[in-house]
Amino acid sequence: MDSLIGESKPALRDGVPEITPAVELRRVSLSFEEKPVLDDVSFRLGAGETLVLLGVTGSGKSVLLKLILGLLKPDSGQVLVDGQDLTPLAETELFPLRRKMGIVFQEGALFDSLSVYENVAYRLREEGEKDEEQIEHRVREVLRFVELEHTLDKMPAELSGGMRRRVSIARAIVSDPSIMLYDSPTAGLDPVTAHTINVLIAKLRDVQGVSTLVVTHRLADAFVLANFMYSPEKMALVPAAADGATGRSFTTRFLVLRDGLVHFWGSKEEITSNPDPYLRKFLA
């Protein structure tokens, strides 16, 4: 299994090895109060690719996202974003790197004292945008993308769980990040709302070419992202091959964490055909 982990299989794009992966972890370990959370984790996410991170609760999935954002520092190993190691960087030095990334937290993590408009505009203001017209134009544009333009003046408490996640997606993409991280974006949502979120994730990935890392324990969501792609013409998900996008499933990889270790790394075909009992439990 170890031989499958990231560094042994550089991502391919049109048959050409990716020189600089969007995200790469090299032998990352992290412990909290002497309890290991991640142990020697390595993988890479190529530009424009999708990585689905699976694992049971407490397997270190969310921690891994925080490491990629530089919200946590590993005890050992390297975390590279667009080829730059962020482990030795100070908080202020991380800000330019974080601009390349957007994150959707599990519960949305919207600022509850700010309206939807102010939540989405937050990053633009932090980046120094002063032109209110420009801000409003961009905020409306991304809220239209998630089909929530009508919620502009609402407070987060007035939104449903699914709407909060969609606003969170809008907030994350407002400054056009090239990497999107999703922490259990469909957890606790009904199947219809969960599908809406999956469509948005695929839309961002397929229309804007955003590198995508999705943490989930819902395998169905993972296979939706692996088997379908967003068709702008039909404004819906279509089977990858039907849209002429052959090979889409090969750019969606799966990584399974178990007790802080990488238990599996590979393609959809590899995970579905793998006889490993632990993986079979996931696929059941």
């Binding site: 974080r98 937290f105 993590a109 600022f111 990053r123």
Partner: protein, 259 residues
Amino acid sequence: MNGLSLDNFVKRKVLAVQEFTEYLTNSIRHLFTPPRYLIDTLIQMDVIGFGSLPIVLLTALSIGGVLALQTHRTLSTFGETALLGQVVALSMVREIGPLLTALMVAGRISSGIASEIGSMLVSEQIDAMRALGTDPLRKLVSPRLYATVATLPLLTVLSDFFGMMGGALVSMSTAHLSSAEYWNSALQALHSEDIIQGLTKPFFFAVAIALVGCYFGLHTKGGTEGVGRATTQAVVGACVLILLLDFFYTKFLMAIGFF
């Protein structure tokens, strides 16, 4: 407690002191460097300063009155009730005004800050803030620190005045002093060193109130239960720190011969 857990306990405490020192240094350093969040600071000034006004003034009025009542009993034994204004003014301006105001604001503000920031932490809003390119120390701590440092001395001045007003009401109704007798006695007793002493203390107390509240909020652990714990710890921590600062600052002023 076995050797290992004692060792861990000591390590945790030393680490906490180290973290607080680093946090204190960074928070104060951020006061002098951009970016600054002016709107957030003004909002906090309203919440901390204007919001605390009713409770601070009511407490001061009450304490000033009680002080005059209690002192009147003692002074009347010696026929020195004319000194009531002096006793109340000196007590309020030197000690009770700054201390009581700080304790009242600590109870109201440290807890509010800790619970607000703690709730943001457990709902990942602080992580979201960092992910969106904001330093939480600048966005959350500095405005609260600025606002508390700016408003606590003003609250103290009003508290001193309302305390003396409370004393005046009691002196006129119980000790049958005239208003002129009370205020003459009070104002003649006050010297510049009393006023300086009483107005410099709030700056130290304000730093304690804001930073302790923010510190416990930013170190909340364990969901909503943790928020409750952080709130309690913030109030207790801020009050203890205020009392210690009061003692050592007074001692320091005496040591340098300030009064």
